[in-house]
Subunit: 164 residues, 6 copies
């Protein structure tokens, strides 16, 4: 499916769209959002594992506090990075070509907040999956192929990578 | 028009929507985004005025640098505050009721970036106007009436306030 | 009382005072400090409610951590915003006209810290009230009338608004 | 003069005052504010020296931008650090003992902003001097003696140090 | 060469080393440092191109200011990300195996600062190259193969990627 | 021992080394890193004391959260400040003269992270001691004598001060 769209894209000459988005830098890469989303899953795993142990020591509270804070930061970073690509790089023409795009972005914002509010692996997995879908669309717009591969660090979940 | 929508809103009972968004705090207020957008206009005015003067002194460069940085911060803050309300408070039901809402939010993101990139009063005014429209929809969702009044500080442009 | 001071203000022509404070921007508005103070109260309420429930789950610790952090941020923001208006906008002449002003500002700093250190509704209410008093003086200096009205979000406490 | 106040201090037993301020940490040290104030002077010197050279190259603009930003940060840090000590550590009893204290703090806030707005060695020197006076009072409250000595880095101006 | 080291690594069983570094998260990835280093090059290019044009307008100063600030942020981010991997993940055993490692890290810190201080393509290229070397060592420690490929955004320089 | 090195230093004329490091500011002072390291110790003491009390109230969780966060910030600050002096001020010639320097810096990074991860007085004391050693080398490079004295605030541990 992506290939068809890709060809269409080249035929439709979205040059004015990509031209402008190259200012101020053009270095957009969803990988940072994806790593952040993966980190959210990791924190949920560590928190769940952590709370299987006894509660009440200073060391315990210290670790719980830090895991929650790291989860918070990365959920925020996920949202922030996606917002930048959506707001600066993506344009009206892309919303027409990918009618689900705005809904995916809004869902990422929502899931980012829900993952801040809860410690829930399913919610974290869904966040990562939505960011992966977002990355797929992004690379498709750029005319690059993608591949899904397991991340080289725990939790070794699938990440959408640009094919090199 | 707002009144009709308001009545519809009450009839349609969007209670489940507003219920969840009250977690974690429910203190959403577009006024901070509006003050930031107004500040962007102010910085553009001060920059334009400033560059009518001679160029080249340390004091001149100092002021130019600070005005640009303040403009940058407030353009970012405008985008960030709007993203929070859109992502956390607004829901599918609202996008159906206000079909222009997603486009307004995306336009604010774009205008925020364009106002970072340029010193252009028209772009700044448009940013403020879009944030005002966003505030109108926000208060309408909350079932509150709004009023337009001049801000009590330069540039004394119209801001959408909740009617008190 | 404010009206008398207001008239005095106009008679005494504090023009040189307000002239300089308009650099670099003049967009001072205590509403952000007030919303932050209100948020501190809200966090105290949510924390107290939260700790009525069972303790020990990851979800519980997650929420407790986030409520404390939000309280912390907003107590800091309250202090920071008030410091800016006090330090940049207010001048010797205002301290003579409002002899309690310095003590109110110092009390806000103290209450900001105490609200960071504790979860105590009375302390939070007092912070909000002091910031309201500060806002009343601020708007009085600007020659604007104020009105007290309940905030449109929980906790629906009274906020001092500029009369529009 | 300090010695007399010091003796008075010990006689008046400000124990209840210092007791509470030890929570949450008690590690207050004006040296960070003083180093920041000194850095503001340094930036002014570097900016003045810099603008004696030709204007217009990328390298020139790069350096000017960075010097202004560093000055901005340290002027802000000076204000922030002083606000913390004033707001958290200093109390009503201290304002009675040192009647000029509130005015010194307010002057530091004002000078901090003026040093942001201008590139003016006299203003920067005055900021450093006011912070030095603040440090003298601080250490006097703590019952520590102070000494003035030149800083071991340019601009080698006098700093008030605690006598070790 | 990497393959030999890789085999050695597996023979030497650095298990105790990698075991501890997996706390608190183990999600280390030099790609963020590499993207930042690439952005530094990009900013240098844009600045050099920008200063070929006329100087003196508000729009010109606005863009120059922003390019410098973005360069500054990414030079800092490059240093920060490398410091984290070096300080948290790398250990005595790695310094023995890769005797040049500490010097590479220190050179990155130096180059980060020099790229902040100047607008010089050669310095920016060298920063990127050193971070690439750092990435090669990192992935080698992790037992992953790497490949050099051009980045999919300007300046399309070579980045060391993990082979997927 | 320091004196001998000092004399050597003057004989070896490290002028080209110190010349460059004076750009952009030359105001390097390890005292901020030392105060941060001391604060880490203080937080550990307060946390240990705190967890001797009953667990479970909102006030308890609030204080635990804040102590952990303050410890985190100051451990990070310790690392950041040391990295700046090491990366910007120290040079190849210094690593030859003080062969243990790189290892001390790497140990500070490691200890900074370990102190984030744990509540352990021994680890915190070691961090402070390593930063003190770093300060001794720093002042020795600058040709200044140092003295060890107890800090004037709890925990009243020894700090390496420049002799005034």
């Amino acid at each position: 499916m992506k290939n068809v769209l890709n060809v269409l894209d080249k035929k439709l000459h979205f040059t004015e769209a990509s031209a402008h988005c190259d200012v101020p830098c053009g270095i957009y890469d969803p990988i940072t959002a994806q790593i952040s989303a993966l980190t959210v899953v990791r924190m949920v795993d560590l928190l769940n594992e952590h709370f299987d142990h006894e509660v009440g020591s200073a060391d315990f509270a210290n670790r719980a506090s830090r895991l929650v804070a790291t989860k918070e930061d990365h959920a925020e970073k996920t949202k922030h990075e996606v917002r930048i690509i959506w707001g600066d790089f993506m344009k009206e023409a892309h919303f027409e070509k990918y009618p689900e795009l705005n809904a995916i972005v809004h869902r990422i914002m929502k899931l980012g907040s829900e993952n801040k509010q809860h410690v829930d692996r399913e919610l974290a997995i869904e966040l990562l999956e939505k960011v992966n879908e977002f990355a797929e669309i992004f690379w498709d717009i750029k005319g690059e192929e993608t591949v899904r591969a397991k991340a080289p660090y725990a939790p070794n979940l699938e990440i959408v990578y640009r094919k090199i």
